[in-house]
């Protein structure tokens, strides 16, 4: 089923440009929806959507509402049209809270035609055709493995039964021949194993020591993991996927966690940062993970939660002022007595975020990747070198210290990064 869906998607991807090209040929040279799509994404998508109202109106079927010549002049210089007192222009201007549309004098009529072609484009029903293509399951490999395993198990079982049977017949023959079996005779004289064990004081001593040591080892291990929340993966009030934002969309960590560069806190982004993008992205159109229930609807619904929290009225494209701060569950909790500064590591030490936080760009649900124990901190301080490039602060001190220690590049530890008071005060 899953594969079927994937194939469908793949085919759709391949077929869509083709269909565009067909259409292009069909419509002649001028309006090319494929070129139009590119232009639309570059120029219009910030404020317009095809099927939905955004900052500006939905553009699907815009050609049927307005005259083409009117559209040319509107797109090129809308404010002039409003000023000139064009009734249609004023009507639309007033409908959208008197917000002025950017002028696009750089677009030629040809470009605009292409864009309009894209807005009018209806994809041919390729999906139905695709679903009719029979899909051959390709599962040979795994099945053969299972078969081999099964055969092996069967052979071993047969061998085992044979062995038992042979043994039994041999014994019967021996008894019949009057041979006394040695084992049975000796059994009565042999002391049981546990008695022998108790009598052997050395063995008792060794095993007691062993038991004590191993329980101490495991006890210590248990105690040391108390308060270490590696892998802590709480459910958040809004399902925020780092995989989508940081992975698929390649957004820099510092874009949202901006204070990590300057402050001790990396900072949980305030909701107005989310709205920088989500004012336009109201629904999810990316990959789905159906196994875990992460459908497009699911993600879109999470975006709606953001809107509710920040008080964004999607229909009217404005803030209502009714806010509901999001109570995120904090994942990385250092104890109060440990001082940690993000900017020291991010900006001065130029440590990648992933060093401590793991492959965040692959995390659908954020979790604590590192143990955040003192041993873990110190380990890194011992191994890492200082980042001296272009940092005037280190010049003098590094020169004299590296001479003292006889190394080319100092580690953080040699710089004093292991001193208690640097982190505990």
């Amino acid at each position: 089923m899953e594969i079927e869906l994937k194939l469908q998607r793949l085919l759709r991807k391949i077929l869509l440009p083709f269909s565009f090209i067909f259409c292009g040929i069909f419509y002649g040279q001028d309006p090319d929806p494929l070129v139009g799509k590119k232009l639309f994404n570059a120029n219009c998508a910030a404020c317009h959507k095809l099927n939905k109202k955004a900052v500006g109106p939905a553009l699907k079927g815009v050609t049927s509402k307005y005259d083409k010549e009117w559209l040319y002049s509107w797109i090129k210089n809308s404010s002039a049209m409003i000023k000139s007192g064009d009734a249609q222009a004023i009507a639309i201007w007033e409908e959208y809270n008197k917000s002025v549309m950017n002028n696009f004098p750089q677009l030629s009529n040809q470009d605009i035609d292409n864009i309009l072609a894209y807005t009018d484009y209806v994809p041919p029903p390729t999906v139905a055709a695709v679903s009719n293509i029979p899909v051959q399951p390709v599962q040979n490999n795994s099945i053969s493995n299972q078969l081999i395993l099964f055969a092996l198990v069967l052979i071993f079982t047969i061998l085992l039964t044979m062995l038992v049977l042979v043994n039994r017949t041999l014994k019967k023959i021996a008894v019949a021949n009057g041979v006394v079996l040695v084992e049975e005779k000796e059994k009565k004289n042999i002391t049981p194993v546990w008695e022998a064990f108790v009598k052997n004081q050395f063995l008792v001593f060794v095993s007691v020591v062993f038991l004590l040591l191993s329980s101490a080892y495991f006890g210590y291990g248990y105690l040391m993991q108390i308060g270490v929340d590696q892998g802590y993966m709480p459910v958040q009030p809004i399902h925020y996927s780092h995989k989508i934002h940081s992975g698929a969309n390649q957004i820099d960590c510092n874009y949202c966690h901006s204070s990590a560069r300057v402050s001790k806190h990396s900072g949980i982004p305030s909701l107005n940062v989310c709205m920088n993008c989500h004012v336009n992205i109201a629904e999810y159109n990316g990959e789905e993970d159906l196994e875990n229930g992460y459908t497009k609807d699911f993600y879109t619904n999470e975006i709606k939660k953001l809107y509710a929290a920040v008080g964004w009225d999607e229909d009217n494209q404005r803030y209502t002022g009714q806010i509901e701060p999001v109570k995120w569950v904090r994942i990385h909790n250092l104890p109060d007595f440990a001082y940690f500064n993000h900017s020291q590591h991010v900006s001065v030490g130029k440590v990648d975020c992933q060093n401590c936080h793991g492959p965040v760009e692959e995390m659908e649900v954020m979790y604590q990747y590192s143990p955040l124990t003192m041993g873990w901190c110190i380990d890194c301080h011992r191994k890492s070198n200082l980042k001296l490039e272009d940092n005037e602060y280190y010049q003098k001190i590094h020169e004299s210290l590296s001479k003292k220690y006889g190394v080319e590049k100092l580690t953080v530890a040699q710089m004093g990064g292991l001193e208690c008071g640097k982190c505990h005060y």
């Binding site: 108390i226 308060g227 929340d229 709480p234 204070s259 300057v262 402050s263 001790k264 806190h265 900072g267 949980i268 982004p269 305030s270 909701l271 107005n272 940062v273 929290a309 920040v310 008080g311 806010i323 701060p325 999001v326 109570k327 995120w328 569950v329 904090r330 909790n333 104890p335 109060d336 007595f337 440990a338 001082y339 500064n341 900017s343 020291q344 900006s347 001065v348 272009d390 940092n391 005037e392 602060y393 280190y394 010049q395 003098k396 001190i397 004299s400 210290l401 003292k404 004093g416 001193e419 208690c420 008071g421 640097k422 505990h424 005060y425």
Partner: protein, 1022 residues
């Protein structure tokens, strides 16, 4: 045969006829125990509520449940802003310039805020004047988070809203003006141009309102004298940096005299330097009754009662003017007075004389003398921070008591508490038709007023000020008001129907009258604006100046009481501030109390005693002081240096209303503050009982231990070698005297600290006035807990930084050393040391701030069994609290006794109900410093959070660190320059030069600890 004794266990047993006799004798239990019944009857057995098995089950279950619950970590929520303000970045402090003007303290300050809440006050050192915050100003940030603040307006004790309060007040005001009834607007000194304008507008609208200024502790006689001499209301601002000879007659100008704030300029020429030939410093002679901070810092201090002081003044006056004096002085006083007069004559314009005596003729005389010698110290701009002139307040009180007033509006004042006849005034206010109090607290006055208008703290308010002619300051809010409060000015503006708020009014007034085209934003950023004053002060000399001497008419009132304000408590506005309650008085080192200071001579005469009890705490007998119908029962502290025949008592204590029970300390001395004169005649008697003081240092002397405080005179400093007055202690090695600092006698191997930063702190004992601003700054920066009076008494105070005060047992510390050196033999030593424990009648006083000395060879580090105390390469002695197990070995091994142990949990503990026990008070905590828990040792960290921040900032900006960037809380709070912090590996730094200074010495150098804190020898110009 002996009669056999009868033992019995019940009275029935003796009575032979009793039917119970047999039972008692034969049965162990009177009734059979119902064992069978219980065991046989299963139903009953099961009906029992909890039997043994169930109990075990419950125990087992609850233990498991508790254990399981403990395994679950707490879920911590993080709530970011919905819309984050641009200038707030979590983890980074913002600083705002603002101004405090609470009617007593007037200072330009910087406010450190974290995530939108103010957490620390710092001096605005760029301000041209009034830029040095004292201990009270530093502590005022905690008063913002006072849980006893009133949170909304009240009408007759009931919660109300601003709208209904406005309507009610307007109704009452209108009915008062209809009836032609006089309404008095009793205010603090605002020193605010815009407020004055707003009040004028109010008076224009309601002409029946009359404004009267009431300073809690006024300088009204000086204001009167100034008004007559110069023609307007104000005070002379003295610039002590321009005087080389300072004569002060009871003017505590290092304390709160005429608004205080004189220390920076005073100290600026008190630090001699031999680099350019001879060292120079000003000479300061002080005549006073109480031992004040100023007297303790003076070169020559002469104890004299107020009546003697007046005689001395008139003697000096006639000597300087060359008139034959008629007054009779004691030989000692005459000698010193002649010395002062000759000094004034000799130094001429470079001399100054000041007086704090509350007497009109004295203040006239002072102005006359200073103008006669054309003293450079008289600043051309007058101070405007005390404006009460006395007469109109007296008139108002009379009218109020006579019932001639129909309404009262009190703003920032608490007359019921701070006036001597407060009880009568209380009844009079109750009888008024209309009474409204603008207050942050339900204090003595506002609780009897009909309306209380809840005002915001100054950190939540706008304000503009002119502290001195031409010196303008701005105050801006640094936090959104915590409660439903309104500023007085905003309230008035809405009452007079203005459409502007106070902020808009200030902005308008400034752009029209002050700024002269300068940028408002720039001024708001700086916090101050200076305008040049062109016209000169014009002095109108007075013809007849005659000091009216007090005649001791009533021989029963044998003692002269001198009221004063303490560095910590001031006028008592911040009584509910635990930092200030626990702040040790710089002189007596007593916390949580006010008391009667008395000379040992008078104490002996009356029979008053101070006793040190077994645990080292101080007990003092109670005295009853009385004058007419006012009397107080007050404990006594025997004060060395107190003038015979005088007693001292601090104002600002004994508040009861709007104050937590723990902070209701001391007695209200305002009952004696008649006619705003701090000198009163009283009768002092012994009464029963002893008071338990919480004193952080005993009243003993330095005993000639010259290696703790090194002191010399300017003469010796200039004429002799360093070896003479600041020798390095020596030890004998192979019968050769070797300096303890030399490597030969050191058993330690030193670390190489020549690379990177090496922090040192230099404390100049000449520049330190003992003001204690550093102590409070340290509290605020390092989350130092308040432990309360009971714990302080057990010497469990938590101050990371203490200012030790030492007395000399001879007339000077020098003489002490001579006495000690002259001891021969053990018998002599016992008797001499015994004698030296007692301070002399007029001792020299020295202040010494002591915090962790951050020894390079630290005794504490070697004894810690868990290595919780370790040394950093940068010279700081680290203390890892989470590692500490509380053996207290380190504290025992510390020669400086600077380590503090958390005997209890001081936060979130009802036993210690101070600011750390409520959510509001905890908002003041510095998020960069751990709040320590029970069983942990703590101490000064040399503000490692601040030095690390400076280093990180330099790393982030990829630059070297300049000198002056490194700071610690105490050094940045110090406005006299006594504390200098920096990196001694930077050869250009100020501190590395101070380390090479010949005055430099280390505390207890002979111990060989090699501290990173150094002191500069104190030099007195005697």
């Amino acid at each position: 045969m002996k009669k056999k004794k009868t033992y019995w266990k019940n009275i029935e047993q003796i009575d032979k006829k009793s039917p119970l006799k047999n039972d008692i004798e034969n049965k162990e239990f009177a009734n059979q125990l119902p064992v069978d019944k219980i065991l046989l009857n299963q139903d009953d057995f099961q009906l029992e509520n909890t039997n043994r098995r169930d109990f075990l089950k419950y125990v087992g279950f609850s233990t498991t449940a508790a254990a399981l619950a403990a395994c679950e970590g707490p879920v911590i929520k993080s709530v970011p802003y919905v819309v984050q303000p641009e200038q707030i970045r979590p983890g980074i402090p913002n600083y705002y310039a603002s101004t405090i003007a609470d009617g007593f303290d007037f200072t330009s300050i910087l406010i450190k805020t974290r995530e939108g809440r103010p957490i620390k006050i710092e001096s605005n050192k760029e301000a041209p004047d009034f830029g040095s915050a004292n201990a009270r100003v530093h502590a005022s940030v905690l008063s913002l988070y006072d849980s006893k603040r009133i949170q909304l307006p009240k009408i007759e004790g009931q919660d109300s809203s601003w709208d209904s309060l406005k309507t009610q007040v307007l109704l009452d005001l209108n009915s008062a003006s209809e009836k032609q009834g006089k309404v008095v607007l009793l205010t603090q000194t605002f020193a605010s141009p815009t407020t004055n304008k707003i009040i004028n507008e109010l008076v224009t609208k309601f002409p029946n309102i009359e404004q009267i200024t009431l300073d809690t502790v006024p300088s009204n006689y000086a204001v009167q004298a100034f008004k007559d001499a110069y023609g307007f209301t104000g005070l002379v601002d003295y610039d002590f940096s321009k005087s080389h000879f300072i004569v002060s007659v009871d003017a505590d100008f290092l304390g709160d005299w005429q608004g205080g704030g004189y220390n920076t300029k005073y100290v600026s020429n008190r630090v001699p330097d031999r680099k350019n030939g001879k060292g120079k410093m000003s000479k300061h002679i002080q005549f006073e009754a109480n031992m004040s901070l100023t007297g303790a810092n003076a070169d020559i201090r002469v104890p004299a009662t107020p009546s003697e002081q007046k005689k001395i003044l008139s003697y000096i006056y006639s000597e300087v003017k060359g008139v034959k004096s008629k007054v009779k002085l004691s030989p000692e006083h005459e000698k010193k007075a002649r010395f002062a007069a000759n000094g004034i004559k000799k130094f001429g314009s470079k001399a100054v004389i000041v007086s704090g005596l509350d007497d009109r003729s004295v203040q006239d005389l002072i102005l006359d003398l200073n103008n006669y010698i054309k003293s450079f110290a008289i600043d051309n701009s007058a101070r405007l921070t005390r404006t009460q002139s006395g007469n109109e307040v007296d008139a108002f009180i009379e009218e109020l008591l006579a019932g001639k007033i129909s309404g009262l509006i009190a703003v920032g004042v608490n007359p019921v508490y701070s006036l001597s006849n407060g009880e009568k005034i209380k009844d009079a206010i109750k009888n008024l038709d209309f009474s409204l109090s603008f207050s942050m607290k339900k204090d003595e006055t506002s609780s009897v007023c009909k309306y209380i208008a809840a005002t915001p703290h100054y950190l939540e308010s706008w304000g503009d000020y002119e502290f001195k002619e031409g010196y303008y300051f701005l105050a801006q809010p640094t936090i959104k008001p915590l409660f439903n409060t309104m500023q007085f000015q905003d309230f008035v503006l809405s009452i007079i129907g203005s459409n502007k708020d106070y902020y808009a009014s200030i902005k308008e007034f400034w752009s029209q009258n002050i700024l002269n085209g300068k940028s408002w934003n720039k001024v708001l950023h700086d916090g101050f604006y200076q305008k040049k004053k062109n016209e000169k002060l014009k002095f109108k000399p007075k013809k007849n100046i005659n000091i009216v001497e007090d005649s001791k008419s009533n021989s029963k009132l044998d003692m002269e009481l001198v009221l004063y304000t303490k560095i910590g408590m001031g006028d008592g506005q911040q009584s509910n501030n635990p930092w200030l309650q626990e702040f040790p008085d710089p002189i007596t080192r007593v916390t949580w109390d006010n008391y009667l200071t008395i000379s040992s001579f008078d104490a002996k005469r009356i029979g008053l005693k101070n006793i040190n009890v077994a645990n080292g705490a101080l007990n003092g007998s109670y005295a009853k002081i009385s004058n007419g119908d006012s009397f107080l029962k007050i404990p006594v502290v025997i004060q060395p240096g107190q003038a015979k025949g005088s007693v001292g008592l601090a104002l600002g204590y004994g508040r009861k209303m709007g104050i937590q029970e723990e902070m209701q300390t001391g007695e209200n001395a305002f009952v004696f503050f008649r006619h705003f004169q701090k000198n009163q005649n009283v009768k002092v008697e012994l009464t029963d009982g002893f008071h338990e003081f919480a004193c952080t240092q005993l009243q003993n002397t330095l005993m000639g231990r010259g290696d703790i405080i090194k002191e010399t005179t300017l003469e010796i400093f200039n004429s002799k070698d360093k070896e003479y007055w600041n020798p390095i202690p020596k030890v004998s090695k192979n019968h050769i005297e070797t300096a303890v600092t030399s490597k030969e006698v050191d058993i330690w191997e030193s670390f190489d600290r020549s690379i990177g930063h090496h922090f040192n702190l230099s404390i100049d004992l000449n520049a330190c006035t003992g003001c204690g601003a550093c102590v409070i700054a340290c509290h605020a920066e390092n989350n130092v807990p308040v432990v309360g009076k009971r714990e302080i008494r057990k010497s469990r105070d938590m101050h990371w930084l203490r200012i030790d005060r030492y007395y000399s047992s001879e007339d000077s510390f020098e003489d002490d050393v001579d006495t000690k050196d002259a001891i021969s033999g053990i018998g002599d030593s016992l008797t001499t040391f015994g004698k030296m424990e007692k301070a002399s009648e007029n001792p020299q006083v020295a202040f010494q701030p002591v915090m962790c000395q951050h020894c390079n060879h630290a005794p504490c580090e070697t004894v810690c069994p868990v290595a919780a105390s370790s040394h950093g390469r940068q010279g700081q002695n680290h203390m890892a609290y989470n590692r500490c197990v509380g053996t207290r070995y380190c504290a025992n091994n510390c020669p400086y006794k600077v380590r503090r142990f958390n005997w209890f949990l001081y936060n979130k503990n009802d036993e210690f109900d101070y600011h750390m026990n409520n959510d509001l008070g905890r908002m003041v905590l510095n998020p960069d410093v751990v709040v320590r828990s029970r069983g942990v040792m703590e101490k000064c960290s040399m503000c490692i959070q601040m030095t690390q921040k400076t280093i990180l900032d330099a790393k982030l900006e990829a630059r070297q660190i300049k000198d002056g960037e490194f700071n610690v809380a105490c050094s940045s709070a110090c406005t006299t320059g006594a504390m200098v912090f920096g990196d001694i590996n930077d050869n250009e730094s100020k501190v590395s030069k101070l380390k090479a200074d010949e005055r430099m010495y280390h505390l207890l150098e002979s111990v060989g600890t090699k501290p990173n804190v150094m002191y500069q020898t104190k030099i007195r110009n005697t």
